[in-house]
Amino acid sequence: MNVELKPFDQRTAEALADDQLRTTLRTVTTAILGFRKAGLGRLDDSDAWRDHARRLRAHTLSRLDTYLDQFVSNVEARGGHAYYAATAADAVRYVRDLATSKGVKVAVKSKSMVTEEIELNHHLESAGVKVVETDLGEYIVQLAHDRPSHIVMPIIHMNRQQVADLFRAKINATDADLVDIPAMTQLARRVLREEFVNADMGISGVNFAVAETGSITTCTNEGNGRLCTTMPRIHVAMMGIERIVPTVQDLSVMLQVLARSATGQNLTVYTNVVTGPRPRDGDGAEGDGPDEFHVVMVDNGRSRVLGSELAEILYCIRCGACLNTCPVFHQIGGHAYGGVYPGPVGAVLTPAFEGLDAFHELPQASSLCGACKDVCPVRIDIPRMLLKLRADSVDAGKSPWWITYGMRTLGWVGVRPRLFRWAGGLAARATRAMATDGWIRKMPGHLSAWTKSRDFPAMAEVSFQEQWKKKPSSHRKREETRFPGERP
């Protein structure tokens, strides 16, 4: 995947040149953030719910092994199968072997980010299994051979006309099918119904897995998740190992904040709890569901992250609010991030999973404004982790030499106040020499890109410290003294 990835600068340049993309992003995210605010506002003391949700995530991840063991026992007690996949390859192999051994021809899928991460569709198709995405957005992504650009709204980067053109080209849509969005949705629905009927295997994601019952939960708005998990004879639920909640009561806490943060809904339209396959004796009250139920618990680097200073990013419940609020995401969209997980959460997750080599720009692509931390339902301190990754980049020698030079100089001069003042005076004279009316239109060297869109200010003729020295009143210690820490 990374082999064909364009360089970061090119990815962002393409997005910045796409006015339609940026307009769409801004319109949609503004609306969604409004819904979020209203949704949380309908909770009595949403801050307390968020605090509680955060504590739950912290607690669960601190005892993840215990809860996973409990979850596995309960899945198996209900007649299901649970598989721990240490790597993406292990996860893929398990599902592919299952599909092949059971003669699966068609697999229908509901939305799952972890399957994007392990590129499951590609591998199943190579093994001769037809894979059909059934979330409308994901279906469109699949038809377009594209990738999702948002965790919750996979085609936020496309507009209606682009989807209409795609439907015409790929599924023979007529003018009547494309007259409006409901008609287009009906068309997709008709096509997908056939696939549901024919499918041998349903693959779902997992929003939360409940340790005490062995249940998995999917939150969807289209009902496709419910069809995927009940109609085909085999259901495979794919989850990152961090999706666990201890109890059903804890699940209810997470559900309170998830949909509200994502879309502003109190709950998603279909909040589906699946506990095991169809009972074999058939005399139970719950005589429905698939013949086989498999859960694949994907690690793929998560254990390593759990033991690092980036562990907090695993608290994430994939609501997408940090993307919606991020002023950088608004400008560059999801694809520019280059990984499976876009936006602020992706700027931490992608380097955490895949290393800084291919993704060292991501932690830099942030003004550290803190809006992500502000909206996070579990209050993940994303800025802190971006700073940690920046420090790692410096240690790994990935910071540009001229910035390293500048910062080393600042660190050296900054502890020598007289030299600092002298250098400041020099900089002030230099900037004034370049300025007209106090502003510089074109800076030299690496600052020239800065002045493409804005003027740079010349520094004041008389610095604050000089003014302060000449000031007649108020302060007593005017004399120059040696201060603690200054080296001679």
Binding site: T12, A13, L16, P327, V328, H330, Q331, I332, Q364, A365, S366, S367, L368, C369, G370, A371, K373, D374, R384, L387, R390, D392, V394, S399, P400, I403, T404, M407, R408, L410, G411, W412, G414, V415, P417, F420, W439, R441, L447, A449, W450, K452, S453, R454, D455, F456, P457, F464, Q465, Q467, W468, S474, H475, R476, K477, E480, T481, F483, G485, E486
Partner: protein
């Protein structure tokens, strides 16, 4: 000097310990922790030699001194102790005025149409949300203009605007649009660096809107800054 003027007008005696340089925020922000710690030790030594409240007229520097020193010195007991002690008596300028001085009307007169942009580190780092608003509400003859998306970042971010100038410019463009739509003549900020960024963008656009630090507004008596 406006900060000093406002504080003196309120009856405070202002000291400015000689030898101050940079708190290290740019180095910290860029991931240069060794340099940030060197500058942090220098600043903490200077500030530790004082006894009274410390006023910092910037959200970014304020967040560094008040919060981040404790993070970068977590493995250095001596400076961690100093950082904690400073934390208890360091204040961002507007928070000092409202919470320590206990004022919201400092007797300022500023006859301009003003809009307030909430700088990120003051707002989300230090929680300075209501204090600047309260102080501006106390300014005579200042006509407040609502600024859409006032709490959205202007795209400066220090080194971010140097390393990623195009993304930063796009963010600035959005901010300038909202500023120009607000009808304000003056944008008020609590961080000079963000102000410098927006002012540079406005100037390039040929706009006559100016950007000032809140201290300049609060120090104003006759409507000039």
């Amino acid at each position: 000097m406006s900060v000093v003027a406002v504080l003196e007008r309120l009856g405070f005696t202002v000291e400015c310990p000689a030898g101050q340089t940079c708190c290290g925020q740019p180095a910290f922000n860029g991931g240069y922790l060794d340099e940030a710690r060197a500058l942090g030790r220098h600043t903490l030594d200077l500030l530790s030699a004082t006894d009274d409240p410390i006023v910092i007229p910037s959200g970014s520097c304020g967040d560094m001194v008040i919060h981040q020193y404790e993070a970068i010195f977590r493995d250095d007991p001596v400076y961690l102790e100093k950082a904690r002690a400073i934390h208890t008596r360091a204040y961002e300028f507007t928070q000092f005025l409202v919470h320590v001085a206990g004022v919201s009307d400092v007797g300022a007169v500023f006859p301009r149409k003003v809009a307030y942009h909430a700088c990120c580190h003051g707002l989300r780092g230090l929680g300075a949300k209501d204090e600047p608003e309260a102080l501006l509400a106390g300014v005579a003859r200042a006509e407040r203009c609502p600024l859409a998306e006032a709490d959205v970042c202007c795209g400066f971010g220090g080194l971010f605007s140097v390393k990623m100038p195009d993304i930063s410019s796009a963010m600035l463009g959005r901010k300038l649009d909202t500023i120009q739509e607000s009808g304000a003549e003056t944008i008020v900020v609590t961080d000079v660096s963000c102000g410098m960024h927006m002012a540079g963008g406005l100037r390039r656009r040929g706009s006559r809107v100016d950007v000032v630090h809140i201290a300049d507004v609060l120090a104003s008596r006759v409507g000039t800054t």
